[in-house]
Symmetry: D2
Subunit: 134 residues, 4 copies
Amino acid sequence: MKSETEIKVRGYHLDFYGHVNNARYLEFLEEGRWQFLEDHVDLAEWRQRGWSFLVVNININYRHPATMGDILVIETALSRIGKHSAVIHQHITMKGRPIDVVDADITFVIGEGDKALRLEGPIRVKLERLMNQP
Amino acid sequence: MKSETEIKVRGYHLDFYGHVNNARYLEFLEEGRWQFLEDHVDLAEWRQRGWSFLVVNININYRHPATMGDILVIETALSRIGKHSAVIHQHITMKGRPIDVVDADITFVIGEGDKALRLEGPIRVKLERLMNQP
Amino acid sequence: MKSETEIKVRGYHLDFYGHVNNARYLEFLEEGRWQFLEDHVDLAEWRQRGWSFLVVNININYRHPATMGDILVIETALSRIGKHSAVIHQHITMKGRPIDVVDADITFVIGEGDKALRLEGPIRVKLERLMNQP
Amino acid sequence: MKSETEIKVRGYHLDFYGHVNNARYLEFLEEGRWQFLEDHVDLAEWRQRGWSFLVVNININYRHPATMGDILVIETALSRIGKHSAVIHQHITMKGRPIDVVDADITFVIGEGDKALRLEGPIRVKLERLMNQP
């Protein structure tokens, strides 16, 4: 399961260097993840159970600058499930051009109240379905 | 009563034109207003009473562009109290230079639950004190 | 001539109050204006002539809060042409619901190098066409 | 050599969860790095030589949420110099409280025109001085 989101780069996304700013990419990635969750997760059920996605690490490579008018494609997929945390992989390319702009691994835990859940039982089943289904 | 806040312009504040972006100034102004409230208002008491400041209009003039390394000074003061709304005036200049960068009137109401309060009685007294004291 | 842009409200658009932040709306409006320019203006020609749109005033009414998951529709149109400046009117509503979220008048001048052009001759013809054509 | 920057968390820094948003921390870190460069680097000389700092990777741990009114302290120091890239380590804590909020490694190269410089010769000397001096 994968989601794709398109964002066109505008003047307010750029910084001093005339390129999309480092911090702004994290908003683009968050946009991609909301799209992914909306496409594939029953968020109402998660909310009812009191589960939330908490990002604990972001490891992001900036490979090629993007500028005004570029159309970016953000691909988002679940890539790994551990005992306590899982990883979403995201990849930003230029639309229609084989240029890697950004790739990132987003490590998250599932919070319930104050604690992070072990990724086992029904929650693991849900995550595995997210990862494996075509 | 007036508050002054300084912000140094950094690379991530700029946009396509190499100037501080229009939207970013609204964050600078919000920073100035939090400073003003912190300096002069008993926010804990307001919170306890369930009062909140709700911005209903911003009228902002962009007079001179600011860029990398400029130090901006934001002045914030309450300038007018009406029956239902009041106005905070904010003025951004270059530190140590007589250059008007931005000025803005921020019209707000005081919300309590779902409704806006009439600005009379104890709340008016508080606002008038905010406006008139030196 | 009018443009419409849709934006879905995400977690990173919200602030302390759980509503879309005041400053963020200015990014939404800028997004709408880029869309409008792209739809109706020959930006390459403007760039070649060295003309740029410079915002000198924004007057924005915040009428109804927007929150997580709301789909906003931004309408953008040129509404008035003066001797030295012109006005773009923008209106944000909830998609499919008759709720006014934000409306704003954006006053701009056309810059050429260091000076603002008088809106006469060929530039006025272009602007009038932008305003009047269906 | 180390720099310290303080930022007070305001309403516009928060998101849906009432915490400082993931992307916003990257602006806080960028603020810290500009401070560091300003404190310790002759930026005018670097500009004259045509050298620029280009971030190629950010690895950031989100350890503890920060919210309204928290005062964050950002520590910034150069931590490692490789053959082609170097690493700035940044650490955000709560002012006066032993709470780790965020830590991050920022890997950068030195660009000159279109290419990344090897970190040898005079540029390496400058970087080593940045890292080692007390």
